[in-house]
């Protein structure tokens, strides 16, 4: 499941960040700011119109992400193990 599909206030775990060919920089940046495999992640709220941008908690940090950015982040259940 991708992060942009996740409902509000459900904690998941980052599985991986897609290194989209079109947006290689974006994926790197997402990793740098903390979207790293294993990190806990949750969508806290969405803006009113169209739900963009999303307010996302990753680890202890909070970021505003656009849907397209969130769509690069694959998440999994906390109970899933590799």
């Amino acid at each position: 499941m991708k992060l942009d599909q996740l409902s509000n206030n459900i904690t998941k775990r980052v599985k991986r960040v897609d290194h989209d060919e079109l947006l290689p920089e974006i994926a790197h940046q997402l990793e740098e700011i903390g979207f790293i495999p294993g990190e806990r992640v949750m969508v806290m709220r969405r803006n009113l119109l169209g739900g963009d941008p999303l307010m996302v908690r990753v680890g202890l940090s909070t970021f505003a992400l656009r849907k397209k950015e969130a769509a690069l982040i694959e998440v999994e259940d906390l109970s899933d193990h590799d």
Partner: protein
């Protein structure tokens, strides 16, 4: 902003502060250096460089505040600067002797990765664990000794927002042997390559956190609580609007008394000079040049400080990026992202730092559009012009619910600039082929902080200094230059009318007035606009000088307000206000655009489109006002 390049290497040890954005690095910098700071730019690039001095045990230490970074993998301009300084590659900058790595104690996971990257660089490093008070409040008990053991580095804890919060750090700095060999002991020899290794570092960090029993996540409950209201889908934007509106009201109402005070002091001084000096050209220069000019701008200091006070509070509290979050959707509709909000908001203070701040926008097109519209944000240099015209032509009337008419007009001028900018961005979006464009946002929303009064005070002090520097430098110089132009050559004997009409400035003004009279500008305004190209507020001082010299060989430097009230129509005043919403009346901004975009193309586009827009807006305003009978 003071801008100069630094090209010398003082012999004192250089200590660099490195840390993630929002880790409280600047608070630590302020604590260590107090008021002894110097703001400048790095050589060749417009990244703000802050340096200060700390004296410990009679030894002077230079403290350098580096731009906040998430990693040492250079991607943005900020990260390039930080990396280059740390590697000793930055132009005009020596390699730091010691690095203070500032960590946000409430977010160790992210900040520890930076420590690991720094260690690989082989620089002597002290870890500064900041925001320990907040961490403790959230139940995070960090064992400093154990952390030091795990990292093989000295660790001290600090509280950036308390006046003695840097005690432990100062003690540590006293303790450390700052000689070459002493510092080398703080370097851990590693064989790892200093390359990019997020995954591996993350494992190491994870292990450290586990050993310290800190691998549970505890977010900030207070911030989450506040966000529930402040970022509420409906309440949030409403609150933002009210906050901004309140600020503009305060700029007018709070400043009234201190402005009166400054005015009576400058009036008193010119009165004193007029009474005690013989009537010659020196007296004329002092009264009509220096005091009417520079003094006329100084009056607006209280308003500028009040505006900055609020901007600093919003910045310190962590509300600014949230405003960007709230506005992202709106910005998106004109083809921008919320990221453009912070540069645009800085542009309300001054377009130059705003244009500099656009380098945080990763998308090149977004950055360019933001630079193009940044000059439309009403900068504080326009405030004196607006304040003068509104004060002279708009009655101070109490409207329902305690709103003042003058404040309302000021707010609508700011709004016109914003609406104009949105339209320009929208047009650019329509012109450009935006199929492939992607506008990243990816912006951190830091925890709320109670604004530290000390940081706000230091920020205000810097603004005050920069403003006075401008008044004493550029503005004073231009006023004196204009005084000369407006005083020479003397009128031929037997000539009628004020002497200024025969001067160089008078001739130039009349020439310009032929172009500008369709929008209601007389030759006095036209001439004042020319030196105003250097800095907008100079228009006020120039009008002061022009009118003082055009006065009936008066014995008093009469205040500008009643003068223009008598000689301008309301239509002219409104037209001039409209002109200032759009006109690119600032060469430093154009120079900053040239530097940031690396060529003359964009500056030329900006100059052209803004002048056309200004002329159009003034033309419409003037003719609508005339038809309403305000001529």
């Amino acid at each position: 902003m003071t801008e100069s390049t630094i090209h010398f290497y003082p012999k004192e040890p250089l200590i660099a502060l490195v840390g993630n954005p929002n880790c409280g690095k600047t608070s630590i910098f302020n604590l260590l250096t107090g008021g002894k700071q110097k703001v400048a730019n790095y050589a060749g690039v417009t990244v703000e460089r802050k340096e200060g001095k700390l004296v410990l045990n009679q030894q002077v230490l230079r403290i350098l505040d580096l731009p906040g970074v998430y990693s040492l993998y250079p991607r943005s301009l900020d990260e390039h600067i930080t990396c280059n300084v740390l590697l000793g590659r930055a132009t005009g900058e020596k390699k730091p002797d010691l690095v203070l790595c500032v960590l946000d104690a409430t977010n160790l996971r992210r900040s520890l990765r930076l420590v690991l990257a720094l260690k690989r660089m082989g620089l002597p490093c002290i870890v500064v664990l900041n925001m320990m008070d907040v961490a403790q409040k959230r139940g995070l008990n960090i064992n400093v000794t154990q952390l030091a053991k795990e990292l093989h580095l000295p660790v001290v804890s600090t509280i950036g927002v308390e006046s003695k919060g840097d005690h432990a750090l100062r003690e540590k700095l006293k303790e450390i042997d700052l000689s070459k060999s002493g510092l080398n002991e703080l370097v851990e020899v590693t064989n790892q390559s200093p390359s990019y290794q997020t995954e591996a570092d993350n494992q190491v960090v994870q292990n450290i956190l586990k050993k310290l029993g800190l691998d549970q996540q505890i977010a900030d409950p207070i911030s989450d609580q506040l966000d529930r209201t402040l970022l509420h889908p409906i309440l949030g934007p409403l609150i933002l609007f009210v906050v901004l509106f309140f600020i503009f009201q305060a700029v007018f109402t709070w400043a009234a008394y201190p402005m009166e005070l400054i005015k009576s002091v400058t009036d008193g001084i010119s009165q004193l000079i007029l009474e005690n000096f013989p009537d010659n050209w020196i007296r004329s220069l002092l009264v009509y040049g220096v005091i009417a000019g520079a003094g006329g701008v100084l009056v607006f200091l209280p308003q500028i400080l009040i505006l900055f006070f609020f901007i600093l509070i919003l910045e310190e509290s962590g509300y600014l990026p949230r405003a960007a979050y709230l506005l992202d959707r709106m910005m998106g509709s004109v083809g921008l992202s919320g990221r453009s909000f912070i540069p645009l908001l800085s542009s309300f203070a001054c377009a130059i730092p705003g244009i500099m701040a656009t380098r945080t926008i990763t998308n090149a097109r977004d950055r360019l559009v933001t630079i193009l519209i940044a000059p439309l944000m009403t900068c504080s240099a326009r405030l004196p012009v607006y304040a003068l015209l509104i004060g002279a032509f708009i009655p101070s009337r109490e409207l329902p619910i305690g709103i003042d008419l003058q404040g309302l007009v000021l707010f609508s001028l700011y709004l016109s600039g914003i609406v104009g900018a949105m339209i320009v961005a929208w047009v650019l979006k329509k012109i450009a082929n935006s199929k492939t464009s992607f506008h990243p946002l990816m912006m951190e929303l830091p925890s709320y902080h109670f604004p530290s009064l000390k940081n706000v005070a230091i920020g205000l002090w810097q603004r005050l200094f920069i403003f006075l520097h401008r008044v004493g430098g550029t503005i004073l110089f231009l006023t004196i230059a204009l005084w000369f132009l407006a005083s020479f050559p003397h009128p031929p004997t037997g000539a009628e009318g004020p002497a200024i009409e025969y001067s160089l400035a008078g001739m130039l003004g009349k020439l310009l007035a032929t172009i500008l009279s369709p929008i209601g500008f007389n030759w006095e305004i036209s001439i004042a606009l020319v030196p105003g190209m250097a800095a907008r507020e100079v228009v006020v001082s120039s009008l002061g000088t022009v009118y003082a010299l055009a006065g009936q060989a008066g014995d008093t430097a009469e205040a500008l307000t009643p003068l223009i009230q008598h000689s301008w129509s309301l239509a002219t005043a409104l037209s001039l206000l409209a002109w200032f919403v759009f006109a690119p009346q600032c060469l430093s901004t154009i120079a900053a655009v040239k530097r940031e975009t690396g060529g003359y193309k964009i500056p030329a586009i900006i100059l052209t489109y803004l002048f056309l827009l200004a002329y159009l807006a003034s033309y419409i305003t003037y003719h609508v006002a005339l038809s309403l009978g305000w001529g």
